[in-house]
């Protein structure tokens, strides 16, 4: 972790996007972009790919099967009780299953995300800069031997960065 990185700080979405476009058009590898909220367009400009939705769907199916299995085991196999003559394998399972699908999907997807991104409570952030968790937008470019730092600085500046720092 001796590598230093260039931090371009922006104060609005539009100049961030134009800078990101300019830099990626030059073929320069952008290490990370930070924004206070998700920006759909970034996804397209940086050509990012994610398999999280597929995974979330699978977690949902798993949640459904697991919850149904549990309910079936508790109220039909292991400890059947008769409520007003209702069948033991009942329709009201649907509500519990519905809620548990949401619960299991969110919890597992978030866990996967944090593990994959090595984030979460107690994790030491790889890139840190004052204001990063506030209302500012950041472009982070890791420095390497091939990187033309001056060109990057110029691009960030022309994109409307309010601050450019190396750290």
């Amino acid at each position: 972790m001796n590598n230093t990185a260039i931090y371009g700080v922006f104060d609005n979405e539009d100049s961030l996007l134009s800078a990101v476009r300019k830099i990626s058009d030059r073929g320069i590898q952008i290490t990370d972009v930070v924004s206070p909220y998700p920006i759909e367009e970034l996804f397209h400009i940086l050509k990012l790919k994610t398999r999280i939705p597929v995974l979330a769907f699978m977690y949902g199916v798993f949640g459904m099967l697991a919850t149904f299995g549990f309910l079936y085991w508790t109220s039909v196999v292991n400890y059947p009780l008769v409520f007003g003559g209702k069948p033991q394998n009942t329709l009201s399972f649907v509500i519990v299953i519905f809620v548990m699908i949401i619960n299991i999907t969110i919890a597992s997807t978030l866990t996967t995300f944090f593990l994959r991104e090595k984030k979460g409570p107690g994790a030491v952030p790889k890139y840190d800069y004052p204001g990063m968790t506030d209302d500012k937008y950041f472009i982070i470019i890791e420095k390497s031997a091939e990187l033309d730092a001056d060109a990057v600085n110029a691009l960030l500046k022309s994109g409307g960065a309010i601050e450019i720092t190396e750290k």
């Binding site: 920006i39 759909e40 367009e41 939705p53 769907f57 007003g84 003559g85 209702k86 329709l91 009201s92 649907v94 509500i95």
Partner: protein
């Protein structure tokens, strides 16, 4: 931008197609009335309510866009506006239906329908609300509200085209707010009046909500389908992936809400297991109705939900169109299930049903196209139009 000025033209060819459809419908309705008047009335009610619900759903969609000040949909707003042109036609047909009340609604003359003593007592108890004069007064009132509100929204929209400025947008927003409150009340009561009282001793309080959501759901789906068809003919050239994404999001989320209300009604009745409530579903799970019962769920919930779940599919126009065609059939099965067992009683699906549906579709398309061609397709002075033309995901 030359395409932008393109106005939709109601060519003679299209006009003749709709006439042909209407002719099929008239034949089917006549055949229906001559073979069995009750079947004829039931079909009239079903199809009229079907297309009325699309028109109401579309006008609700329009009102919602004003209230939320949505920009993305502003270029398409002429479509829901034109769809609500069916409401006056529906009003005329509902007035005609008053003459069929005796054969459709058993509460009109309960002594002739073999109700037992308890049921007669229940009907007597309901009679201050369920009587013919009050029924007609309410019917007129509902349509007065809907026609007035949709006409006002349309008028503001046309005036905005001439004069521009924010004034008409703000007026429309205010009227939309009034409209959704009145619509909530009137459409709920209308679905109670026209559909639920077909089986007058049965009741469900969530019934109207379910029908309201179905109207919104299928109305929005038809808007999307119309935009899709017109897009393939070169209208709305600016449409991009973000628009399709938002359209399919609408259909997708409404499919979940629809299923939620459907299940809410079914589960509570199933669980409480009170005979006077369960008769409704028992009847619909017997014999030929059973297939229709499950088909309804599959078409209105399972198909849209599973197909529109992946992002990739949601943006494919062909797939979106397929889903909406399923929904068109879905709304029919839904209303068929609600209306037919309580009126005709036996499962009939033949020329009368399909033909009269085609005829009403022709009528609906005629009213829609006539209204659409009477004004510019793109509301050029809409304050949020630019947002719609350059819509990108967010």
């Amino acid at each position: 931008m030359t395409n932008m000025e393109k106005k939709f033209e109601f060519t003679p060819r299209l006009r003749y197609i709709t006439y042909a459809l209407m002719a099929i419908g008239i034949i089917a309705v006549v055949v229906g009335f001559t073979s069995d008047p009750e079947r004829g009335w039931a079909n009239l009610l079903l199809n009229n309510f079907y297309f009325l619900s699309l028109a109401i759903g579309a006008s609700f969609f329009l009102a919602l866009q004003y209230i939320t000040q949505s920009g993305w949909s502003s270029a398409f707003k002429r479509i829901p506006e034109s769809m609500s042109a069916y409401i006056p036609v529906a009003a005329i047909l509902m007035v005609i239906l008053i003459f069929g009340m005796g054969s459709l609604y058993s509460w009109v003359n309960p002594s002739e329908h073999g109700f037992d003593e308890h049921e007669l007592h229940v009907l007597h108890h309901k009679s201050p609300y369920l009587n013919q004069p009050f029924f007609i007064v309410r019917l007129v009132l509902y349509f007065a509200v809907w026609i007035f509100m949709t006409k006002m929204l349309r008028r503001f929209s046309l005036k905005e085209d001439m004069e521009g400025g924010l004034a008409y947008f703000q007026k429309s927003e205010f009227y939309s707010k009034v409209y959704i409150f009145t619509l909530a009340l009137t459409f709920s009561l209308a679905s109670f009046d026209w559909l639920m009282t077909l089986e007058p001793t049965w009741y469900s309080t969530i019934y109207s909500l379910k029908n309201f959501v179905a109207a919104f759901y299928h109305g929005s789906a038809i808007i999307v389908l119309i935009v899709l068809i017109m897009h393939t003919y070169g209208y709305f050239p600016f449409i991009n992936n973000a628009h399709w994404q938002d359209f399919s999001k609408y259909v997708f989320i409404l499919s979940i809400i629809w299923a939620y209300f459907w299940f809410s009604q079914y589960l509570l009745i199933w669980y409480a297991n009170i005979p006077e409530e369960t008769t409704y579903y028992v009847r619909r799970l017997e014999g030929p109705w059973e297939f229709n019962f499950y088909l309804n769920l599959v078409l209105n919930w399972l198909v849209p939900f599973l197909i529109l779940l992946p992002n990739y599919f949601a943006r494919k126009k062909f797939i979106l169109a397929f889903v909406i065609v399923m929904l068109i059939i879905g709304q029919y099965t839904d209303l068929f299930e609600q209306i037919m067992p309580g009126t005709v009683g036996e499962f009939n699906l033949g020329f009368v049903e399909i033909g009269s549906f085609i005829g009403f579709a022709g009528l609906f398309i005629y009213m829609f196209m006539r209204t659409l061609s009477s004004a510019a397709l793109i509301p050029e002075k809409h304050p949020l139009l630019e947002e719609s033309l350059h819509h990108s995901g967010h």
